[in-house]
């Protein structure tokens, strides 16, 4: 069987008829880049956990996807991110919830798994752990995009809470 890898970039009302060619090309390029990162790790004999982190980091850095840079906004207009990692051979796990300012939340989750006695940190405690572990705190402007601000405005006008992807057009 050898190595194998799968990734997702979110689900929702994704319709071809409301997708522009440029936007679709952007998503495809993002998926290909993330897949390439994971494949590179696994084909070189790397571990599954290294592969999933490498893959997710690429997706977190891409503002098209709802994680890291490009995360959706809360009703208060803020970014709150969650991340988790789990290792199959010994069921080691690490998770963080309600964090901000961390470029790659998946790396912080991995640090929880590898360098703490716990499984989950949330909110202020997770931020303190991130600082203790040497994670840089980035400004909100790094994470927020115009697309997400438009999504929030429309969701608030409709008084709804929505998944990552919908068929609404902006601009």
């Amino acid at each position: 069987c050898g190595w194998a890898l799968a990734l997702h970039g979110g689900a929702g009302t994704i319709l071809k008829e409301t997708m522009t060619p440029d936007r679709e090309a952007g998503y495809r390029a993002g998926l290909e880049a993330a897949l390439a990162a994971g494949r590179e790790v696994l084909s070189a004999g790397g571990s599954a956990e290294d592969a999933v982190v490498a893959t997710v980091m690429v997706l977190e850095d891409n503002p098209l996807f709802n994680a890291g840079r490009g995360s959706v906004l809360t009703s208060a207009g803020t970014v709150e991110m969650d991340a988790a990692i789990m290792r199959g051979r010994d069921r080691a796990a690490g998770t963080v919830a309600g964090i901000h300012g961390v470029r790659n939340p998946i790396c912080l989750a991995r640090r929880v798994m590898e360098r703490s006695d716990h499984v989950m940190f949330c909110g202020a405690g997770a931020q303190v752990f991130a600082l203790e572990q040497g994670f840089e705190e980035l400004p909100a402007s790094y994470f927020e995009t115009e697309h997400r601000r438009n999504q929030l405005r429309e969701a608030q006008e409709k008084n709804e809470i929505s998944l990552d992807h919908n068929d609404h057009k902006y601009g």
Binding site: A6, H8, L59, A67, T74, A83, S162, D164
Partner: protein, 135 residues
């Protein structure tokens, strides 16, 4: 939400999920992504799973752990285990979303009950697959 599951050459599995949550969510709301057993789970005895969708439904259905348990204890094929949770149990409580999963052997399974899911997969020696829409 983004996620990844992998099996390395040693046969070890891993799962990872990362998200900004849902647009216009109330601050402090936590979905399934960081909840082990709901949106993320990995066991070499069953499967590795990462989910995306309405987090509350995935938590209530303990989707990720159930899929691994169906493989481990009930002996279900991974595809059937994922189908049962994503296409039967989740819709029953109005849960929209999808799952990627991988077992100690065989190809990854990618399944969703929405109109689309950004997704990709690859196996050693095989071609990469990439998809967006349901069809």
């Amino acid at each position: 939400t983004v996620g990844c599951v992998a099996r390395d050459r040693n046969g070890d599995l891993a799962a990872a999920t990362s998200t900004g949550g849902m647009t216009n969510k109330r601050p402090g709301r936590v979905g399934d992504s960081p909840v082990i057993g709901a949106g993320t789970y990995a066991s070499n005895d069953g499967a590795a799973i990462s989910a995306t969708g309405h987090g509350e439904a995935f938590i209530r259905e303990t989707v990720a752990r159930d899929i691994a348990a169906l493989v481990q204890y009930a002996g279900l094929d991974l595809t059937e285990a994922v189908r049962r949770k994503v296409m039967v149990d989740l819709p029953r409580i109005g849960g929209d979303g999808g799952v990627i999963a991988i077992a100690p052997a065989g190809a990854p399974v990618l399944m969703f009950n929405t109109r689309g899911m950004y997704r990709a997969s690859a196996c050693e020696g095989g071609d990469a697959k990439l998809g967006i829409y349901a069809d």
